[in-house]
């Protein structure tokens, strides 16, 4: 457990000091929200209807970039090999990377929420606890498979194409459930309507964190 935190802390500290990815991704996420505004047109009703979907497409695109970056940094310095040389369970490396990515992505997402409320005219304060819960559950599921596949594709020449191509079909349930959950909270429909979707997200998280933890061993073995 100590290793997991140490690794996650290392990733977050490096990012926190340089902030090069963080700033870029924040700007990118805001840009996605704007672009969708252009694509959908200024009709406020249509924007409100599409808001949850737009938000999650933004999160997923940002997440793709963030996860690629998490392993690219290691690869540029060839430091993953160093990490793998340490004795002990390699599952800790996976969990550490996962925790680091989730915290990082959540930081971006929380910062994007005000921007989202601003452009899409949604009542943020009332819905915020529900939105945060959905974002947390959705991000864990997305990053669980994403971290595994990022480790898998980082050595490939075509990784920019392979990574999203491999990951996106897998996380369709996350996208569907997160959009539906977010939608329910934005409408103020109450917990009863969002609950099945949150359960689905929770189950997905549980299943795929466990599976990926096992699979990571096979992915990094030499």
């Amino acid at each position: 457990m100590g290793r997991v935190w140490a690794l996650a802390r290392k990733d977050l500290l490096t990012e926190g000091r340089s902030k090069e990815t963080l700033n870029g991704l924040l700007f990118f996420a805001a840009l996605v929200l704007l672009i969708f505004g252009f694509a959908l047109g200024p009709d406020p009703e249509r924007l409100t209807q599409a808001a949850a979907g737009v938000l999650w497409v933004g999160f997923i695109l940002t997440g793709l970039l963030g996860l690629t970056r998490a392993f690219q940094v290691e690869q540029e310095n060839e430091s993953l090999e160093g990490l793998l040389l340490y004795p002990g369970d390699r599952g800790a490396i996976y969990l550490g990377k996962l925790v680091g990515s989730v915290v990082f992505m959540l930081a971006v997402e929380v910062t994007v929420f005000p921007c989202f409320a601003f452009f899409y005219n949604v009542p943020l304060w009332r819905a915020l606890p529900g939105l945060l819960l959905t974002a947390a559950l959705g991000t864990v599921g997305f990053a669980a498979v994403g971290t595994l596949f990022a480790a898998m594709t980082m050595h490939l020449r075509a990784r920019e194409v392979m990574f999203p191509l491999l990951l996106l079909p897998f996380v369709v349930p996350v996208l569907l459930a997160a959009v539906k959950g977010t939608e329910a909270f934005l409408r103020g429909a109450g917990r009863a309507e969002a609950f099945p979707w949150l359960t689905l997200l929770g189950l997905f998280d549980l299943i795929f964190v466990t599976l990926s933890l096992f699979a990571f061993e096979w992915v990094v073995e030499e």
Partner: protein, 224 residues
């Protein structure tokens, strides 16, 4: 080993060919047309067998992947790879046949129906599987990565299906599962199912043999 499987190949191919011809004849000529849908319903004799065989093929990918990771025998990897290719082929056939049926029946090539959408995502997962294999240069590493995707992909199918089903409450359950199919359609359907299962077995045997030859070529090249 090669000689034994090639001796099996010819009868298997002939049986598959004969069964397909018989299935076509019975499905297109002998079986009655559907009372409501008319002739268009005959696409079922292609659509249902291909989708069932596609699921069987992806299940074989799962079995081959698990067996490869446990034993590290190359033959399991070759089996999984071969089955994934055929599974993708059958899934494409399923979607194409479904679209051709959907146009006159529903008035659209595509609807966001739960099973349709699940099948499309399934196709994308296994196309990703094949592309990943092609992208990894190291054979053993490619086999390991593919096995991981083969296992996770199959386990993801029920979750995807459930989520899409909830998302589209407007779905119609499978005619087979809900027992809405008149028994008169069973024999031709069963015959076609057998024909496509034989075709799958034949293609799989061919593709596995090709995979074995590829592995052999690679081995000899490394020895030189």
């Amino acid at each position: 080993m090669a000689s034994r499987s090639s001796r099996l190949m010819l009868p298997l191919g002939l049986a598959a060919g004969a069964a397909l011809l018989a299935g076509l004849y019975v499905g297109l000529v002998r079986a009655p047309a559907d009372a409501m849908q008319g002739e268009v319903q005959r696409i079922m004799y292609l659509h249902v067998p291909t989708v069932l065989v596609a699921y069987l093929a992806f299940f074989v990918v799962l079995v081959g992947s698990v067996a490869y990771l446990l034993t590290r025998r190359e033959r399991w990897d070759i089996l999984a790879h071969a089955s994934a290719e055929i599974g993708v082929l059958f899934t494409v056939l399923t979607i194409a046949a479904g679209a051709i049926w959907g146009k006159p029946t529903w008035g659209a090539w595509w609807t966001w129906d739960a099973r349709l959408t699940t099948t499309a995502i399934l196709l994308l997962i296994y196309i990703g599987y094949l592309m990943l294999r092609a992208a990894v240069e190291d054979q053993a590493r490619g086999a390991r990565y593919a096995a991981v995707v083969g296992i996770l992909g199959f386990l993801d199918i029920p979750i995807i299906h459930k989520s899409v089903e909830w998302w589209r409450t407007l779905h119609q359950p499978s005619s087979l599962a809900r027992g809405a199919l008149d028994p008169v359609f069973y024999p031709p359907l069963a015959l076609n199912l057998m024909a496509f299962a034989l075709l799958y077995a034949f293609l799989l045997a061919q593709r596995v043999e090709l995979g074995n030859l590829e592995a052999e070529v690679l081995r000899r090249r490394l020895e030189e």
